[in-house]
Symmetry: C2
């Protein structure tokens, strides 16, 4: 069993209020992880007034092509030349050190709040975080882990394949690595019930870095020469399986149940 | 056939550069729609320096619960009392007038850029745009239409259920109404090919408001008394169908092919 001691955990946190349940969940994680000997870094995005939008201001000095500014290419160049905005560099440094990244947020419109989407858009810089060659199982950060921990406004029943919002398993595709920690509609719970959720979260945190990640297909089962399509021999091997490989790689079969929700399914 | 004349179209547009293909697509839409007699409103988010993050600053005057600031509730109250930030009110006014909203953007990390997510988070105010009772087919804006028009960095092959990024049909769940207009990897195309794409887009724009929307289940097939789960009689009726109802409401069956990509499938 891998020891949590001396591991570094980065919590990217997005809630406006220190009195919120999201804050309580974040604080529980900080305390519990420190108790285990982890180093914990927190990026409190609202507190930092984190810039969400991807603009030319993210680059110090002149851009290469002002007539047609392309964010991905320009920031890759700026990263290579040490000309990225300092708030991005700060996050890069935290990310390099982190063994695990936890994204803590209230779900807004079936996704992360804009300020957190801005963290993803700006910090996961082309060249630094991925290249066309280095991604997915070949990714630059393939040895790090990440997970989502979030609250919803809706009850769990509403986010099933039977429920009005549809299957959460589909909603979460393709934004995560470890199984998510979902706090369903905490607003509707008693404070005792919320305390219970926090305890369960602390228990999970004790073994988090040893958890098996969710199932994602390795990059090498796709054929680069053919537009990164699944290799025919892999597809053939899957012929007898009742389910697709993942939610996205469903191969026109039923979705693998819970594959974005639980590891090892 | 519904006439486009005298219809109002709002284009919510997010690209940093007037020299981009996204700008060309937006401009083509403005010109084509005006030619048809439409009134066209454009929210050019980067140009407006649109605030992406959902904060207390979105409310003029005191918030109700400063110890536990809840964005949804506080902005609903502020909307009722006419105390919302003026940039949100401006967008509300455009949205009220619009018969059709087109979101034009380059896809970032399998979703809209943060600045556009910020538009969704801040402008689709609780009370103004939806309530627990008034959403989906019962929604306040149920007679308006919306669509996504976007560019990708990846080729189309990479976004199939066989491709390394997985099925675009799943990625788009649940953020749209009319079928999307997708420009696959325009960076890799010749300018002639890009011109061809713009022409195809203009042709589509001529009939856009008459297009059938994508298939979404009406809200009344879910039972509010049972956590908004699908009514058993509806499920029973679907028993013989080879496919689920939608990507999200898949009923443990294969996904309805292309249901987030093409209307009437």
């Amino acid at each position: 069993m891998e020891n949590m001691t001396a591991k570094t955990v980065l919590i990217v946190y997005a809630h406006q209020s220190a009195g919120s349940f999201n804050a309580a969940v974040k604080n529980a994680a900080v305390d519990e992880l420190k108790k285990q000997g982890c180093r914990v870094l927190v990026s409190d995005l609202y507190e930092m007034k984190f810039k969400a939008t991807a603009t030319e201001d993210d680059i110090n000095g002149a851009v290469k092509n002002p007539k047609h500014f392309r964010y991905g290419n320009e920031t890759m160049l700026a990263w290579q030349e040490g000309r990225l905005a300092s708030d991005i560099v700060d996050e890069h440094n935290k990310l390099k050190e982190a063994d695990l990244v936890i994204f803590q947020f209230p779900m807004y419109w079936f996704s992360v709040p804009a300020i957190m989407k801005g963290w993803m858009d700006r910090v996961l810089t082309l060249g630094f975080a991925y290249t066309l060659e280095k991604r997915y199982s070949e990714g630059i950060f393939r040895n790090k882990k990440a997970m989502l921990s979030f609250t919803t406004g809706s009850h769990e029943t509403m986010f099933s394949s039977n429920g009005i919002n549809g299957d959460m398993n589909v909603t979460l595709w393709p934004i995560q690595v470890l199984a998510p920690q979902i706090f369903w509609a905490p607003t509707h719970l008693s404070s005792e019930a919320r305390e219970g959720l926090l305890k369960g979260w602390c228990t999970r945190l004790q073994g988090l870095l040893n958890e098996a990640p969710l199932t994602f297909p390795p990059a090498d089962i796709f054929d680069e020469g053919k537009g990164f399509q699944l290799k025919p021999e892999v597809r053939e091997k899957q012929a007898d399986s009742p389910f697709g490989l993942t939610v996205g790689h469903h191969l026109e079969k039923p979705l693998p149940p819970q594959s974005q929700m639980k590891a090892g399914v």
